[in-house]
């Protein structure tokens, strides 16, 4: 019997029978269209921008955070987080299903990967909050408050991180003061408890032979982008205001050369490897869900850089926009596709399988003088892409079939791209 199986395997490997064979299980849409344009009137009246969008783990609810992306000064303006359930009948794009009031601008948002009711947010004041939307009374489940442990600078990224104990998640927050903190949720006390603390300082940035880097200005490395690797739970990537792109390790034991500022946990220096620095702040990094070594990064230089974790120079740099790029994200279904939100208000979708370096699709949200600030693919329903902009609205786009259906040779092509060595 083993022999007959081996015979079949060999024949199959050589067979061309299914080469161009594709099956259509559903009606294919050939167009990219805007399904909904969600707005929260009072946020729009205050002129708030959408600073973050995140889909719940069920894929039905989109959570949107409001704030400002251009504020350099301390802001005392109130803002909110709104959620809409797109699968509910009677969806009103002008009326959110749930509005959470927040005392300051929200700068980061992330829905829990398993529990649909939990949303983590980072605020301009440096606080980190977790809301429980299933509670009717006070939706704030836990927060850091203004304790000695918390950040003092705006929190630009929050992410849920799997902890040692299986099934439990902690919240990782990163701020422009150069601190990356890992919190565990203690719902009994209503607090986020500091579990581990990392500090990034210029002097401890690793140097590599191919990149020349001179420490300049202040010694903190303000973190503006954070990405977790779905392949290696110990690795995380950090992008900074100064254009640095670093690979970091959770398990690093090196003490940080930074003042402790009253944190309860010892500060550690997590940086392990420095990639080629950019000329401006790095706004977004995302690891490929299909290849363990690939990630894409983008920032104010208008380019999207495709990197391998193994080398300092990028594998590929694509011009996305003539202005800033605020966020990039890989498609959850097509290994070669990623989307980028630009300062010109457009969302560009790139397909690395195409020969041309021009985008596969461009989505404009209409109107000049607005920027697309954030975007998120829906993992449960991969045709949906949510995009937030500075006009305070969130557009839900439905992507065409060719942007979402995995084609037969894609994984192989991605592997080839990853294995190139940059010149």
């Amino acid at each position: 019997m083993i022999d007959s199986v081996i015979r079949e395997l060999v024949t199959n490997a050589r067979s061309h029978a299914f080469d161009e064979f594709q099956v259509n299980w559903e009606d294919q849409s050939h167009l990219v269209s805007c399904l909904h344009c969600l707005q929260h009137p009072s946020a729009q009246e205050s002129g708030l921008h959408v600073t973050g969008v995140s889909w719940s783990c069920t894929g039905s609810v989109i959570a949107c955070a409001y704030g400002r992306i251009d504020d350099g000064d301390w802001s005392t303006e109130r803002s909110c987080v709104c959620t809409w359930n797109l699968d509910r009948r009677g969806l009103d794009p002008k009326q959110a299903d749930l509005v959470l009031d927040v005392p300051t601008a929200v700068t980061a948002l992330c829905c829990h990967p398993n529990q649909p009711a939990l949303i983590a947010g980072g605020l301009f004041s440096g606080e980190v909050v977790v809301w429980d939307t299933s509670r009717t009374q006070d939706p704030v489940l836990v927060q850091t408050g203004m304790s000695a442990d918390s950040h003092r600078e705006p929190v630009y990224q929050v992410a849920w991180v799997p902890l040692q104990k299986k099934g439990e998640f902690g919240v990782l927050s990163a701020c422009s003061g150069g601190r990356v903190l890992l919190w565990t949720v203690d719902s009994d006390l209503g607090r986020l408890v500091l579990n581990a603390a990392y500090a990034l300082v210029q002097q401890q940035v690793p140097h590599s032979s191919t990149t020349s880097f001179k420490a300049r200005g202040s010694s903190t490395v303000g973190v503006t982008a954070l990405a977790l690797s779905p392949w290696d739970p110990d690795t995380f990537l950090v992008g900074s205001e100064g254009g640095l792109l670093l690979r970091c390790s959770f398990s690093s034991q090196t003490p940080a050369a930074a003042p402790s500022e009253g944190h309860n946990a010892t500060l550690r220096a997590p940086a392990v490897f420095l990639f080629r620095p950019r000329s401006g702040p790095v706004h977004s990094i995302h690891c490929s869900p299909f290849h363990r070594n690939l990630f894409v990064s983008a920032g104010t230089d208008g380019l999207a850089h495709l990197h391998s974790l193994l080398q300092a120079d990028p594998l590929l740099s694509l011009r996305v926009s003539d202005s800033y790029v605020f966020q990039v994200q890989w498609s959850p279904t097509r290994p070669l596709v990623f989307a980028a939100a630009t300062g010109q208000g457009e969302v560009q979708i790139f397909d690395l399988g195409r020969r041309s370096q021009r985008p596969a699709a461009t989505m404009e949200q209409g109107g000049a003088n607005q920027a697309a600030t954030c975007l998120a693919f829906n993992h449960q329903n991969p045709q949906l892409l949510a995009v937030g902009n500075t006009k305070g609205s969130v557009c839900i786009w439905q992507l065409s079939h060719n942007l979402t259906e995995h084609s037969p040779r894609e994984s192989g092509q991605l592997e080839q791209i990853a294995n190139q060595v940059a010149e």
Partner: protein, 87 residues
Amino acid sequence: MIQSQNGVQGIIIVNSEGIPIKTTLDNASTVQYAGLIHQLVMKARSTVRDIDPQNDLTFLRIRSKKNEIMIAPDKDYFLIVIQNPSD
């Protein structure tokens, strides 16, 4: 020997009750494949025999976008091989 063939991603041997006895994949995937495929093979076999009681299932192949699952049944066990033919 099977492992060394082109594009083989995993091999599972399942006994007649659907319990995996040998595998090259991780535990969670093995348990998932074993349970789901056992049910499918039973259904395929009964389909073949209902159409013609003198006939019986000899081989089952499931081709999907990403790979192909081949199942060779036997009296005491099934042999499941997952292959990505384009590798």
